[in-house]
């Protein structure tokens, strides 16, 4: 493992960043799936 100063701060920053982005991305996808079941297909014009 690479010797690193302030490793705890760096690790916390990176983990929090990509954890937050990943969690938010999943929540957006989940909301999209739920709403897609509720609206007619002409409202979902992307493919």
């Amino acid at each position: 493992m690479i010797a690193m100063t302030h490793a705890g701060y760096v690790a916390a920053g990176w983990l929090a960043t990509f954890g937050l982005i990943g969690g938010y991305a999943l929540s957006v996808l989940r909301r999209g799936r739920t709403l897609s079941r509720q609206v007619p297909p002409e409202e979902r014009r992307w493919s």
């Binding site: 690479i2 690193m4 100063t5 302030h6 490793a7 701060y9 760096v10 916390a12 920053g13 990176w14 929090a16 960043t17 990509f18 937050l20 982005i21 938010y24 991305a25 957006v28 996808l29 989940r30 909301r31 999209g32 799936r33 739920t34 709403l35 897609s36 079941r37 509720q38 609206v39 007619p40 297909p41 409202e43 979902r44 992307w46 493919s47």
Partner: protein, 302 residues
């Protein structure tokens, strides 16, 4: 991990589950994904992998900040994504106020929510960088304070969008608030020049960039990765906002159809007053209010 299908659109209460005309299964995309978002998502994952490689392994430690510089590779791109979200929200708000097109309203909402995510990351990584560099997680410095104010404005904007108001009035109020985001961001951006600040000035966006070599490559990969992530999130979130508006319309159409069928139904012949039936032992009658309450044969008007 399935969300409840009763979740209503943003800004409104949960939708009733008993809407008879709401379709449950349709052909077509079953999510907000498309070929374009899948490509962008794949590229974003590759870029994040490269960022981890350059930012955590290849990039050397900085002479002054030591390895805390590795937080720079995610902190600055996050701040740029925050700026992009603010510009999109303000621009879309202005266009919505001018043209009243539902797409601009959805784009403004999407931009604000994505901007808030990056605002949180900016503040968090900045605090984690500040502790080893400045000796404190937080100080009421001009840059930090103005960023916190901008974050609070984004929270207020999204809270306003969830108020139970007439959708048009809610969108107007949100759009007026959305117009303030870019002026506020300009204050954040210029704060290190307008006031004495602990925060360093621009490192990269100047004529003689203060970093070079592998550190410059890591910074560039960081911008690329965050740009792809931002684009992917914006497209998905915009589609979610679009679907929320569509679900609202479906609910409204169903309610109107129910009212119309109620109004067009032939009036039933007045029935002769009947004796109340004896309450059975299996199904005891509900207690009846002494006066002014609906009798069992009355249908409450809605």
């Amino acid at each position: 991990m399935t969300a409840t299908p009763t979740a209503g659109p943003a800004g409104g209460p949960p939708s009733p589950t008993s809407t008879p005309s709401r379709p449950e299964a349709h052909p077509g995309p079953a999510s907000t994904g498309s070929r374009a978002t899948r490509v962008i998502g794949l590229l974003a994952l590759v870029a994040i992998g490269l960022l981890a490689l350059y930012g955590l392994v290849i990039s050397p430690a900085d002479a002054e900040m030591a390895d805390a510089v590795r937080l720079y590779y995610i902190h600055v791109p996050s701040a740029i994504c925050l700026a992009l979200g603010c510009f999109i929200t303000t621009g879309a708000s202005a266009l919505w106020l001018r043209r009243r097109s539902a797409g601009w309203d959805a784009l403004a909402e999407a931009g604000a929510e994505v901007a808030l995510v990056f605002a949180a990351i900016t503040l968090l990584t900045g605090s984690l960088w500040g502790r080893p560099t400045w000796g404190t997680y937080w100080t009421w410095d001009a840059r930090l304070t103005s960023t916190a104010v901008l974050t609070a404005l984004l929270v207020g904007y999204l809270a306003l969008r969830r108020l139970d108001l007439d959708p048009d009035a809610r969108s107007v109020r949100a759009a007026v608030l959305g117009l303030l985001l870019v002026p506020n961001f300009i204050v954040v951006n210029r704060s290190v020049e307008w006031w004495r600040s602990l925060h360093q000035e621009s490192t990269l966006f100047r004529l003689d960039p203060a970093i070079e070599g592998d550190m410059l490559v890591a910074a560039m990969v960081g911008y690329l990765a965050f740009a792809l992530v931002f684009t992917w999130l914006m497209i998905h979130r915009f589609r979610v906002a679009w679907l929320e508006q569509a679900a609202d319309r479906v609910d409204l159409d169903a309610a109107l159809a129910a009212r119309r069928s109620e109004a067009q139904a032939p009036p039933s012949a007045p029935s002769a007053p009947t004796e109340p039936s004896e309450p059975s032992a299996a199904a005891p009658a509900a207690p009846v209010e002494p006066s002014g309450a609906a009798t069992p044969t009355e249908v409450p008007s809605r």
